[in-house]
Amino acid sequence: MTNRRPWYATVLMYTALAAFLLFLGFPLLWLLSASFKSTGELNSLAVNLIPAEWDFTNYTSALERQNLLPAAGNSLLVSIATMIITVLLSMPMAYALARLKGRLRAAGTVWILTSQVFPTILIIIPLFLVLRSINLNDTLFGLILVYVTFTLPFTLWMLQGYVAAIPAELEEAGEMDGASRITILRTIILPLLAPGLVATAMFTFVSAWNEFFLALVLLQSPELYTLPIALRSFLGAEGQTQLGPLAAGAILATIPSLIIFGILQKKLTGGMLAGAVKG
């Protein structure tokens, strides 16, 4: 039995998709365009996506000033470490939250929700004092710990949904075959949880990569600055913006994220296709 879609529905669908892509992609295209425009062209009233003259000085300027490359290295270090630690911690915790019954689960859920209530600005000073008392202020390790703490509740919440969606019957089948709990986790749950873990990893990486305020406050030494802090340096007093170098820096800053997305996206789709129960 075939269910052919009417031609106008297909046209509408693709028009909507094209509009959505344009909506999402246009700011990035504009940024890319601005990064290749000269200061004179950026200050003109002309609205053109293709630069009149391709100017690469914004890129050299962005790379030479504000320590963009070391800052990118710091961001990469912090983001990857945050991603790995968060995923490693949230995997068993999410499993426990999803499968456990009773007060511990309820307490865990309440803790997760409560931790999301407080605005960052409210806890930044106590957080700074705590980090200082253990000599972790002005260190990338301290920043990683803070990022893990801030992203963990949400990733736990997200991941436990994935665990809950895995049928308990699969684990019971494993138990009946004599598999230990660890074996079940490793051979049954982990492969099925792959899409969730990948989504969690992507979320954590991007959160840490883009975060500005905590890094601004907790890092004091310029050599430890992360990329968002370095990029903000292109915004000056009285709202002066060095638009060209800022656009070039922002384009360079998206490259690692795109690479990570490119690598992880395949795993995300692959995991989704790995169905466990055949109907």
Partner: protein, 431 residues
């Protein structure tokens, strides 16, 4: 088995990254300190953002370090964005640097909380007498000078000379220019799709508070928590003039009222507006960025009924009261504020230096940029505005004044309603 190895590899990578990151310990904590050779190091948190200014500051610090081997200064480069929050955390956590670069309207609240050293007796006497009382007033809290005022901006009118001449106007060349003159030129140059004025007033409060001083519109009286507000005829003079130009004369480009000052420059360069009101620092940006052959001038400072008076909200250098080296920090700042050094910083940042000696030095540096003559002239009328002494001014500005001025400039409320909103809003905030 393959997946176990994968997880192991990831975990190993994680441990390696952690080990690396824990090695990456910063150096700028707990202020400066003593070196092994007995030399002390002062941490100087600088917010200079323009490459030329950063180079000027570095050169000054290098000169100081070469001349003073026992008192070394280390620049800690930071940005303007988020500085207030960063400083709050630094002061509360006891990790603030020895020397702090900021601005008068924001640093005063740190003085009120007791975080800044009293510099009154440490400032070079020659420097003290070379800066006007009005500017010193802007950095004085409880009779203590809590910062060196370094550079300032004023609001200037920049004009497309060709459009003014085409409209039959000679470029005003007096010491000052009245608002009536501005209105006349704006009317004459508004024609054929060109507006007389482009005025970026997306965040209008600073402009209103500053230019209103030309009509003796101080808004606030009293200090600290006891300050009170009065929004009368003098305070409403500037908002009403701008409103009249926008909606009665129709000489202000309407979109520009919702833009930032920098956004309006494209219309100025494109000949869509004949004049634009901007911060004086734009003189250098216009000189650098305007299209070739663009014939522009800076007009004389705007004069209200009380003269060409504007608010002085200088950039500042303060010293952390908890620094072990308050006197040494002040010595360095006296050096930094010397005429030639301050002139280098001011010229690079296109701002008006606070001292007479530095203004003279800037005139020489900027001899090939005629706009600087008017920029420096506008610096003569800068005085410490009452709002700098008002606790909760920032809260009032952000939550009451800015939205109220925006509504008025969008012609959504009358000037009476504006006055009521500003006064009632202050009453709510001040309690």
């Amino acid at each position: 088995m393959k997946s176990i190895r994968g997880i192991g590899a990831i975990a190993f990578a994680g441990v390696a990254i952690l080990a690396l990151s824990s090695c990456a310990q910063g150096s700028a904590s707990n202020g400066g300190g003593d070196g092994e050779d007995g030399a002390i190091t002062l941490e100087f948190q600088s917010l200079s953002d323009q490459p030329a200014t950063q180079a000027a500051v570095k050169s000054i610090v290098d000169d100081w370090n070469a001349e003073n081997p026992d008192v070394q200064v280390e620049i800690v480069q930071a940005g303007w964005d988020g500085t207030f929050d960063k400083l709050i955390t630094q002061f509360t956590g006891g990790t603030a640097p020895d020397i702090i670069h900021y601005e008068a309207s924001s640093i005063v609240s740190f003085a009120a909380d007791g975080y800044l050293a009293d510099l009154t007796d440490l400032i070079d006497e020659e420097l003290k007498s070379d800066i006007s009382e009005g500017i010193w007033e802007s950095v004085t809290h409880d009779d203590q000078i809590i910062a060196y005022p370094s550079t300032l901006q004023s609001y200037m009118v920049f004009a497309n000379a060709d459009l003014l001449e085409a409209a039959g106007f000679e470029i005003p060349s007096g010491d000052t220019m009245t608002w009536e003159q501005l209105q006349e030129i704006a009317k004459a140059t508004t024609a054929g799709g060109t507006y007389g004025v482009g005025w970026g007033l997306a965040s209008p409060t600073a402009t209103m508070m500053s230019l209103s001083l030309g009509f003796d519109g101080g808004y606030f009286s009293g200090e600290g928590a006891d300050a009170s507000i009065e929004v009368g005829e003098n305070e409403l003079a500037v908002p009403e003039l701008i409103h009249e130009m926008a909606y009665t004369d129709k000489t202000i480009e309407p979109t520009s009222l919702t833009q930032s000052g920098s956004d309006v420059l494209a219309s100025f360069y494109g000949g869509k507006v004949a004049m634009t009101v901007q911060g004086s620092f734009q003189a250098t940006n216009i000189a650098n960025d305007a299209p070739e052959g663009f014939n522009w001038v800076a007009l004389p400072p705007l004069e209200g009924s009380e003269g060409a008076v504007q608010a002085a909200n200088p950039q500042t250098y303060s010293v952390n009261i908890d620094s072990e080296y308050v006197e040494e920090s002040a010595d360095f700042l006296n050096f930094l504020m010397s005429g030639d050094n301050l002139a280098e910083i001011a010229y690079a940042d296109a701002l008006i230096p606070s001292s007479g000696a530095a203004r003279t030095a800037v005139e020489e540096l900027a001899a090939d940029n005629p706009a600087w003559t008017q920029v420096l002239a506008s610096g003569e009328g800068l005085v410490g505005p009452p709002f700098l002494k008002v606790e909760k001014y920032t809260e009032w500005k952000d939550t009451v004044a800015t939205p109220a001025f925006q509504q008025y400039l969008a012609d959504q409320i009358t000037s009476e309603q504006l006055a009521t909103q500003l006064s009632d809003g202050w009453a709510d905030i001040a309690g």
